[in-house]
């Protein structure tokens, strides 16, 4: 007689037929109240930004029906290359009411373009060309538009696919390429003397690339508290004589507590893990970070035609992964808000503990425009990619110019030698 364990049977066992997706296997009415409430709670609110009218991939000119459409940076509008008609997508700020109700924000509201990334979602999308019926493939990892090789129609990825490639909104380039080239030339022009010789030789700002980088734009409603110790000087006096003279201080010590409720409008967070890494020892991403902020109030509904002629990077960060970054920025903002209220502490304040209550946040994913000039500096054990970046809206320019180390050391030594000479001169006179 064998006593082998029998496989379990009954509801919930492997033998049972699994429930359909979205269906719960047990009747919630039979469950305890807290579990039932959680199960029956409404789905978190979402902002639907999917453009169903563009789902077939064809963005037609509203006047002549042509699909040869691209952005005209000078006006920030789409232009039809056939009839020169200009138009623009709707601004998301008004259409989705993003600038309103910040004080009433509760919970986490996520726009459909900022939804979690499905790792299994393919980056290759196939469209049936509306012009001739041919099947056209677009690799969303590298491009958001493609031309039908049969009838020359332009097809764009407008459907929100869960691979992070299609955002809710896009902020079109306004700074033209010529303008960006000039700004980069000026930036480097001020930094030529100690720049790496090879960099100067190979410097061709005309190679600048227009890139749409992925960001999460977040509205937040929060309250922050902080506690610490502050000191106010009550007396200052000297003791000792000559060489042993020292200054002493008397002070009152206070336990300090502050709290502030606030809303933050359009916090802009990098939503590509690679760009979010701001370690200046291994990359120069801080340069791209510095040209923030963008005027995200002017962002428009997603339309792939805005990307014609530009490149883009895909989002690879979800809302959950970016929460710690948002909390860090909100706490920093709260500390900055509290700073004027502790100026009476003339010996300073040491904050020891802090807390953030995030009442509500609203997340929208956007492509923001950056003109990017890059230069790879070869080094032992790898190399460093230097960026010079121009904000595609405001024109703010920042860059990292590789330096010729020996020149820098020589300049420092020259100044040091002169100063040392002065010091020796003073010593000789006073001796």
């Amino acid at each position: 007689m064998t006593n082998e364990p029998q496989p379990p049977t009954g509801p919930g066992s492997p033998a049972d037929v699994p429930p359909a997706p979205g269906e719960f296997p047990i009747d919630p009415a039979t469950l305890p109240e807290p579990i039932r409430d959680e199960l029956l709670a409404a789905e978190p609110p979402v902002i639907d930004t999917s453009a169903t009218e563009l789902r077939d991939g064809i963005n037609r000119c509203p006047r002549c029906g042509s699909t040869d459409v691209r952005l005209r940076p000078a006006s920030g509008m789409l232009v039809c290359l056939y009839c020169r008609n200009e138009w623009s997508s709707a601004r998301v700020e008004e259409e989705l009411g993003l600038g309103e109700g910040l004080k009433d924000l509760k919970g986490t509201i996520i726009a459909t373009g900022a939804a979690d990334i499905d790792a299994a979602a393919a980056s290759m999308r196939t469209f049936k060309c509306g012009g001739c019926g041919a099947e056209v493939v677009v690799d969303t990892a590298h491009a958001m538009t493609a031309r039908c090789h049969w009838c020359r129609h332009v097809l764009g990825v407008n459907e929100q696919i869960p691979n992070g490639a299609v955002p809710d909104a896009v902020l079109p380039f306004r700074v033209t390429k010529d303008d960006a080239v000039e700004r980069i030339r000026q930036f480097v022009g001020k930094r030529r003397l100690f720049a790496l010789a090879r960099f100067k030789r190979e410097f061709t700002p005309e190679n600048v690339l227009g890139v749409y980088l992925p960001y999460m734009v977040v509205d937040a409603n929060a309250r922050a508290e902080m506690v610490g110790v502050g000191e106010i000087e009550t007396a200052r006096y000297s003791r000792g004589r000559d060489n042993n003279k020292r200054t002493y201080y008397d002070a009152d010590v206070y336990a300090v507590a502050r709290s502030v409720s606030f809303t933050a409008d359009d916090v802009q967070l990098e939503s590509s893990a690679e760009r979010a890494n701001l370690d200046t020892r291994v990359n120069t991403n801080n340069i791209i970070n510095t040209i923030l902020p963008f005027d995200t109030k002017n962002a428009v509904r997603w339309n792939a035609s805005y990307l014609v002629g530009f490149t883009s990077e895909k989002r690879d960060q979800d809302v959950e992964g970016l929460h710690p970054v948002l909390e860090h920025q909100l706490l920093s903002i709260a500390r900055a808000q509290a700073e004027p209220s502790v100026r009476a502490y003339d010996r300073g304040v040491r904050w020891e503990r802090e807390r953030l209550e995030l009442h509500g946040s609203r997340w929208v994913s956007m492509y923001l425009p950056v003109w990017l000039y890059s230069y790879f500096e070869p080094r032992r054990g790898g190399g460093l990619l230097h960026y010079i970046a121009v904000n595609g809206r405001t024109g703010e320019t920042m860059g990292s110019v590789p330096v010729q180390q020996w020149k820098l050391v020589l300049a420092a030594l020259a100044v040091g030698t002169v100063l040392e000479g002065v010091a020796i001169g003073i010593l000789a006179v006073t001796a």
């Binding site: 506690v227 359009d266 920025q329 100063l419």
Partner: protein, 98 residues
């Protein structure tokens, strides 16, 4: 240039401590060299730059509230500032309040 001036100040302050100590002035050369190196390096590489979100984000805040309670009196300390002063280091995170 600020670096150089600061370095110079430090050296001059050290050198003015007493009649016999101007030899500290000899630090002026090395301090100046280091200061010039860092100033130029930062001007070219901009490693110290980042988005000033504390200032540049659109924030609407209610008035800051709080309390201040006298807990101690210090007599005769030689420390110029409260130890660990950080009210302007907005990005320095401290322990979380539970």
């Amino acid at each position: 240039m600020i670096d150089v001036l600061l370095a110079t100040d430090v050296v001059l302050a050290a050198g003015s401590g007493g009649d016999d100590s101007p030899v500290w002035l000899l630090l002026l050369g090395p301090a100046g060299a280091v200061g010039v190196y860092w100033m130029l390096f930062r001007f070219y590489r901009n490693t110290d730059k980042s988005h000033g979100f504390e200032r540049e984000t659109l924030v609407e805040a209610e008035p800051v509230t709080g309390e201040d309670r006298l807990i101690d009196k210090i007599r005769g300390t030689t420390e110029r500032w409260v130890r660990g002063r950080n009210e302007r280091d907005y990005r320095e995170r401290v322990d979380r309040l539970e």
